[in-house]
Amino acid sequence: MKKIVVPGELVTEQRKRTGDHVFVHNGQIYSDTVGITNNESTTASVVPLKGIYIPKQGDILIGLVVNELFSGFLVDVNSFSLSYMSKDRIREPLKRGSIVSVRVSKTNELNEADVSDARVFYGGEVFAVSPVKVPRIIGKNGSMLDILRKGTNCNFIVGRNGRIWAKGGNVPLLIKAIKKIEAEAHTSNLTNKMAEFLSKQRNII
C-alpha cells in the first residue's frame, strides 16, 4: 500500500534494501523528504513530491546559453551552478539566449555538470515544471508522452531538469495538461485520467 511520508517518519521496521531518500537510524528505515512510499516493495524507498534537480550523467536537459567563453559556453540548466559546454563538436551556431537541448556528459562531487550534444531549438515555447514531477509527465515507457502527443498534436521535448520545450499543435492545451499532471502527480491511475481529460478538452474545442 502506498502512503505519504514526511521527513523523519518511519518507512518500515523490516530489514529491506534501502533506495532513494531514506536513511537508517537504530536499525529502522526513515524517510528524509516529503514523498510517497510503497510498503509492498522489496526496497524501502521514497519517491519525492518536492525537490530540486541534481544533474546525473546521461540526462537530457533543456538549457539556456547564458555566456560564451573562449572554448565553450555556459548553460543554465536549472541546477546549483551554470554548466560548461565545450565548443568541440558543436555543429550549429550558438549565441547567448539560444535554447538548447543538451546531454549531461560528466558530473562531479559538487554536483556540477558538464554538458554536450547540443541541439538548438528554433521557435516554440519553453515552460517549467517541478523536476520531481518529470517521471510522471513521461509515464511508464513514455505512455503519458504518447497520450499528450496524440491529444495535443504538439512536438515537445521534456528535460529532466523540469523544462519543457513545445512547438506546433495546441500548446496552451499541452501546458494545461502538464500543469494538471503536476498538481495530481501523487494520485493513481493518472494516465487514464489524462486521456479522458484531453478527449474532453478536444470535444469542447
Binding site: V6, G8, F23, T33, K50, E109, T187, S188
Partner: protein
C-alpha cells in the same frame, strides 16, 4: 504591589489567566506551501503570534568565499515587522534579531543533510507579523515545515516550544503576560523528537534541578503534540487523492444502486411478459 493586587497566574483549578491548563499550549494552525514563488513556505499562527517563513535554495553560495566545499550553509533570517509589537519596532535588525537568526539557523543545521549539497546555501526568511511571546519557537517550528515543503532532505522535523515557571509552577508555552510575571522563567527548547536530540535550549531566569526535570517532561509532551500538527500540515497538501477516491466510491455506489434498481425493474417486466405470454397461450389453447 500589595497582596490584594497580586495576580494569580495559576488558580486552584490549575487554570491560567487565559483559561489554559498548565501543560496546554495556545491554539496552533500551520499551513504549508502558501507562497508560490518560494521553493518552500509555511504560515503559522500560534496564539497571537503570526509567522510567515519562506525557503530558497539550495543554490550557489554567494559571496563565493562563504561557500563550504563539504556541505551547504544555512542562512536563517529572523525579522520582526514594525507592526508586530504594541510600540513601533525599528525595522533595522537589532541585537535580538541577529541572535535569534543565529541560534535558529544552527538548530536547523542539525536536522538537514547538509553534505548532500556542497558549495551551496539554503536561505530561510522568517517574518514575524504579530508577536506575543514565544515567537522564536514559532519561527523555528514554521521554518522546519517550510524546509520540508522545499523538499530539502532532513533527519527529522525540528519542533520548538517554550516552557517556564510562573508562581512556582511549571507551565507550557508562556504568553507575554505570563512572561512578565515577577518570578517568571522562560526556556525555549527545540528538539528532533525521534532521537530526542535537543537542538536549541535557551533560558531566561533560573531553574532548580527538579524544576528542570519537570519542565523537560512537559516540553517533550508539548513537542509531540506540535509535531503532529506539523506532519498534518505537510500531508494536507496531498489530500486530493483521498477526496477523489471518496468521490469515485460514492459515484460507483450510486451507479450500483441505480443498476440494481434497473435490473429489478427489468426482472419485473420480464415476469410480467412471461405471465402475459402464458395467459395468451392458455387463451389460444382454449380457443382451439
Amino acid at each position: 504591589m500589595t497582596k490584594e493586587e497580586k495576580k494569580i497566574y495559576v488558580n486552584k483549578k490549575g487554570l491560567r489567566l487565559d483559561g489554559r491548563a498548565v501543560d496546554e499550549s495556545r491554539p496552533i494552525t500551520i499551513k504549508a506551501g502558501v507562497l508560490k514563488n518560494a521553493k518552500g513556505s509555511c504560515y503559522l499562527e500560534w496564539g497571537q503570534n503570526k509567522v510567515l517563513v519562506s525557503v530558497q535554495g539550495p543554490r550557489e553560495a554567494l559571496p563565493k568565499h562563504i561557500a563550504n566545499p563539504f556541505k551547504a550553509i544555512v542562512k536563517f533570517t529572523y525579522r520582526m515587522a514594525a507592526f508586530s509589537v504594541p510600540d513601533r519596532k525599528n525595522p533595522r535588525p537589532g541585537r535580538r534579531d541577529i541572535e535569534i537568526s543565529k541560534v535558529c539557523g544552527e538548530a536547523l543545521e542539525k536536522s538537514i543533510f547538509l553534505e548532500k549539497y556542497p558549495n551551496t546555501q539554503i536561505e530561510i526568511w522568517a517574518q514575524i507579523l504579530d508577536s506575543n511571546a514565544g515567537s522564536r519557537a514559532a519561527a523555528l517550528t514554521a521554518a522546519s515545515v517550510a524546509l520540508a515543503d522545499a523538499g530539502i532532505p532532513m533527519k527529522d522535523l525540528v519542533t520548538s516550544v517554550a516552557v517556564g515557571r510562573i508562581d512556582g509552577k511549571i507551565v507550557l508555552d508562556l504568553n507575554k503576560e505570563e512572561e512578565d510575571a515577577p518570578d517568571a522563567v522562560d526556556m525555549p527548547i527545540a528538539m528532533m523528537s525521534n532521537s530526542k536530540e535537543i537542538v536549541l535550549l535557551q533560558m531566561d531566569g533560573l531553574f532548580s534541578k527538579k524544576e528542570w526535570e519537570e519542565a523537560y517532561e512537559v516540553a517533550v509532551k508539548g513537542i509531540e503534540k506540535i509535531k503532529q500538527l506539523q506532519i498534518n500540515a505537510l500531508k494536507e497538501q496531498f489530500k486530493l487523492e483521498e477526496k477523489e477516491e471518496k468521490k469515485t466510491k460514492t459515484e460507483t455506489k450510486e451507479k450500483s444502486v441505480e443498476s440494481a434498481k434497473e435490473t429489478k425493474t427489468e426482472k419485473k417486466e420480464d415476469k410480467k411478459e412471461l405471465k402475459d405470454n402464458k395467459e395468451l397461450s392458455k387463451a389460444e389453447a382454449e380457443v382451439q
